[in-house]
């Protein structure tokens, strides 16, 4: 199986797809990124991920790997010559896995609620929950970074990828709801982290512009209401 035979199925605006792109970039892996149509699943996606029928799917040689964080771990374990994504110490690895799971299970859903909130009351509830989650993540950043720029220390690591991939949508949520989520006063660590993450070589050009995501969201909302 040629190590360069790597194909990523997905669409640019998906933060889950962005995770895989960033991980591949970190490891300097060349890959094909055939354009998929938003809102419809190609035959290849359905064949490669018959259980969930979702993107991202990484096809390495002829083997499909599914679920973004599982793909990131796979990339870390297969391409061992590049920088490590997960730390080497088992306890630090556990911390990274814990916070990545927290981001997917608790934080992302409340941020989605914030974007979708139609009443002021719903918006406030979602905002309070998001702030609570981000306060916890700020503490996690202090613990994981140990004074350095990233959750992974000197370089981007697992939690950086897990949360950083959603920065485009975090900014879009801020614009759509008219709120500030990454606040200099409340989450100073995360604010400077966000800046460092977005300027990292492996991240540049991956996450779509905030305005584009806002536009996309409004388009989806309109379509959903029309149906």
């Amino acid at each position: 199986m040629a190590a360069t035979d790597v194909k990523l199925l997905g669409v640019g605006p998906s933060p889950y797809v962005n995770r895989v792109q960033i991980a591949l970039n970190l490891k300097s892996v060349n890959y094909e990124f055939p354009e998929q149509t938003m809102g419809s699943k190609s035959e290849l996606v359905l064949k490669s991920n018959p259980v969930h029928k979702k993107i991202p799917v990484l096809i390495h040689g002829d083997k499909p790997i599914c679920e973004s964080l599982i793909i990131v771990q796979y990339i870390d374990e297969f391409w061992t010559s590049g920088p490590s994504i997960l730390p080497s110490d088992p306890y630090d690895r556990a911390l990274h896995r814990f916070w990545a799971a927290y981001i997917d299970d608790k934080l992302s859903p409340v941020m989605r609620e914030l974007r979708m909130a139609e009443t002021e009351e719903a918006k406030q509830v979602a905002l309070d929950r998001s702030s609570e989650g981000l306060a916890l993540l700020e503490e996690a950043f202090t613990e994981c970074s140990k004074g350095k720029s990233f959750f992974g220390g000197d370089n981007i690591g697992y939690v950086d990828i897990a949360f950083g991939s959603s920065l485009g949508w975090v900014r879009a949520s801020e614009k759509l709801a008219g709120v500030t989520l990454l606040d200099q006063a409340k989450t100073p660590g995360l604010v400077s982290w966000a800046h460092n993450f977005s300027s990292h070589q492996a991240v540049k050009g991956v996450i779509p512009e905030t305005d584009k995501l806002v536009e996309l969201f409004k388009m989806f909302q309109a379509k959903a209401k029309a149906n």
């Binding site: 374990e77 556990a94 896995r97």
Partner: protein, 219 residues
């Protein structure tokens, strides 16, 4: 001894996943039973994000979330490996573990509904179980191949817990006629000595689940 502590709950399958992994690795640990209606200060301190069991404490450092704990145990005590060596096989194992987690709420829905709503969810659960039997288990004795692995431990709530729950909620989905291989796996799983000797008492579990379901249906 004293270096590893586990905060758990007797009826929790998540707690038991960790017990099984520790025992399969031959790791000595101290067990602390938590009263979920009155959680200890230590637990709240160790897991402020979720305030849940299980929490494994190793050298005074807490690890929370059962699946995170399982990977931690696997990496800290590499004897008797519970994950394959090959990166692609590991990704596949993690995929099925993740699948089980994602589908958890559907099983919970079965538990807390009755009548038509339960029937409808039952159809969804039947599909999920069929996928697990056909795609995850295949022709193997265990999800891990010939011996237990982390995937088996993560599905370890299907034997025993789901069986007892089915009696309580009045369903019969994990059936030897419709799911012969998965049903056989469930029986084999419970016979493995580490598992067999570390399961909650079925009568006590049944009473506990009946109470739980009663409360859920009231609200």
């Amino acid at each position: 001894m004293g270096e590893v502590k586990l905060h758990g709950f007797w009826a929790s399958p998540f707690s038991h996943r960790v017990i099984w992994a520790l025992k399969l690795k031959g790791v000595e640990y101290e067990y602390m039973e938590e009263d979920l209606s009155n959680k200890s200060q230590l637990l709240l301190q160790y897991n402020p994000a979720h305030k849940k069991i299980p929490v494994l404490v190793h050298r005074n450092k807490p690890v929370a979330e059962s699946l995170v704990i399982l990977e931690y145990i696997e990496e800290t005590w590499p004897e008797n490996p519970l994950l394959p060596l090959d990166a692609c096989d590991r990704a596949m194992a993690r995929f099925w573990i993740n699948f089980g987690e994602q589908k958890g709420p559907v099983f919970f829905n079965l538990f807390r509904t009755t009548g038509e709503a339960q029937e409808k969810t039952g159809e969804e659960v039947a599909q999920i179980l069929k996928t697990i039997e056909e795609k995850a288990l295949g022709d193997n004795n265990f999800f891990g191949g010939n011996t237990l692995g982390l995937v088996d431990l993560s599905f370890g709530w299907l034997p025993h817990w789901f069986e007892v729950t089915e009696q309580v909620q009045g369903t019969k989905l994990l059936d030897p006629t419709t799911l012969p291989r998965l049903h056989a796996w469930a029986q084999n799983f419970k016979q493995v000595p580490v598992i067999r000797d570390n399961l909650p008492d079925p009568q006590k579990l049944s009473a506990h689940l009946k109470r739980l379901r009663g409360n859920l249906l009231k609200n």
